[in-house]
Symmetry: C2
Subunit: 335 residues, 2 copies
């Protein structure tokens, strides 16, 4: 790449929403200045995706990379029950990546920001001799003291889940080995690929969970097994899941069947669905269910919180097992 | 590296300050939740350093890399007149980097956070096949509407500078070619190396500039020439600098003399001094001068704002020249 850095940043930031009523100073100064509503806490999360590790040319186009990097951080704000507002982007760019490809990355970031009413208020583009990396930081807000933590689950609480899980993993496998699902319906293929490349964070549902008083919440970036173990550990409780109640899309089931795999494995360990999993008292859960239904978001009870520790599953095939948190881990101990 | 990611993050974050009165939820949940004072705007800036581009094994130890990554973002908050509060760190780690070296990076981040009363509230560690990268995002606050922009300089304003410039560039050159300064005093060498490896952002001065109403401010990351051109462009004014008034440290002058170089070149184009350069009316400047003196921070008038455009210098050797913004640029047009 041989372009002027300042010129490049102007070119890229022209492709994303940069202003909003609460943005006092956006891109172009030393720092952004933003105004949050009175009586709120500021939420902030950062997430990094690296070429060859989090995405491959075969699985993600440049625009998908930008979109997913942004929604991964937006989803963290959703998991706290917050309203995402502002995005900062740090790009590490190798020689092989040209300005047109960076345009596509920013187009994807722009798609995500428009979908979730966020403004891009900061950025940094640096050269690297290594693979492309995209770091996104998202700021948001939640009513003061109302952020939903992982550690509040209580015995007797309902364990619930938005939408369906397993699709993102089915999509990844299908993208890597399309020949294995030669006779699958094109709509199923499109569904699961979309779930992998353009996942939808559950911002509106998270806002309802915070308003109604869910006791814990996590977004599913690393798989249901990993996220539920985090909630169980942080809360000092046992989470018991009924496998028959885990909602898995028809498309994911069809892909799994073609591949001779168990779609429940996708759900437990696949990750990247960016659905929300959480806990609430039965009374609060009833209110959550009604409010989510009214906005067209499916929420399902998948289990119960009990005294004890860890995650256990009533298996579809019968019997009860401990579910260990072997989700995605960038540095596996046994690699 | 073969360590568990969650275990690694716990190990690293144990090395840095993680709590503060305004941190409601720190590291360990989906996002951090922080409370800012009423009547403030939130400032946020992100900065990325990449191995082989922003640092080399010969110039920066692992702890220096962490320290400098943190202060680069802290300095951006200082340049807006704000109070830095919270730091998020995203690390990209290659196979060759072991846990002990990451400990050192976090030790450096911890040093910076303790020096400037910041808490680390978020982090992300990812694997990369490329060089080490360190991204830092800093949140801070400033009284609502008081952030100092680049674009407010007015003809008649004083142009001023904190501390001394040129030392960081002298330090970098000395680190890269120590044989060229064989007879320099060890104290001078230590001074300029410290300036390169452990620069001090001017947070307290920035707070005074905001309180008193400076009309513009920038931190010197890319060199005086580049920063002053940014202020001139953003403000639609000409900035006229008297070279005789640019404060350059004795140590930097001594290094430059040994190397047969012009210390003014370091000052104009070297960058990374993280001093603040700004503008204010003569009346406001007098107040700034007095208040900075009372806290032991040197501030010098180096020029004037005039009608026109660009940056011009009254040369030490006589004559007037236009000063172009050829500071550090990651993607030079003529590379």
């Amino acid at each position: 790449m041989k372009v002027d850095e300042f010129g490049l940043i102007r070119r890229l930031t022209g492709r994303v929403p940069g202003t909003a009523a609460d943005v006092r100073i956006g891109i172009g100064d030393d720092a952004a200045a933003v105004a949050f509503p009175a009586g709120t806490d500021v939420l902030v999360s950062t997430d990094t995706m690296v070429g060859g590790r989090h995405f491959l040319p075969a699985t993600m186009g440049m625009a998908d990379i930008g979109y997913k990097a942004a929604v991964a951080s937006i989803s963290d704000i959703a998991a706290m029950g917050g309203e995402p507002r502002h995005v900062l982007v740090a790009l590490g760019v190798s020689q092989e990546v040209g300005p047109d490809e960076l345009d596509r990355v920013y187009d994807g970031i722009g798609d995500a920001c428009r979908a979730f009413a966020c403004a891009v208020v900061g950025g940094d583009v640096v050269a690297t001799d290594g693979p492309l990396f995209v770091n996104t930081t998202v700021l948001g807000w939640v009513e003061a003291g109302r952020a939903i933590r992982r550690g509040g689950a209580q015995p007797g609480d309902v364990v619930f889940l938005t939408g369906e899980v397993g699709s993102a993993e089915a999509g990844l496998r299908d993208l890597l080995q399309p020949e294995m699902t030669a006779v699958v319906h094109p709509a199923d293929r499109a569904d699961v690929r979309q779930a992998h490349q353009r996942p939808t964070p559950q911002v509106a549902a998270g806002r309802i969970f915070a308003a109604e008083g869910a006791t814990s919440c996590d977004d599913i970036s690393d798989g249901l097994a990993s996220e539920l173990n985090e909630i169980a550990d942080a809360s000092g409780v046992r989470i018991r899941v009924d496998e028959r109640r885990i909602p898995i899309s028809t498309a994911a089931r069809n892909i799994a069947r073609q591949r001779g795999e168990d779609p429940l494995e996708y759900a437990w360990y696949g990750g990247e669905d960016y659905q929300l999993v959480g806990t609430a008292s039965p009374f609060v859960f009833a209110r959550i269910l009604a409010r989510c239904e009214s906005i067209g978001v499916k929420v399902a009870q998948i289990g119960r919180v009990e005294a004890g520790d860890g995650v256990v599953a009533d298996r579809l095939a019968g019997g009860i097992d401990i579910v260990l948190p072997r989700g995605y881990n960038h540095f596996p101990t046994d690699a």
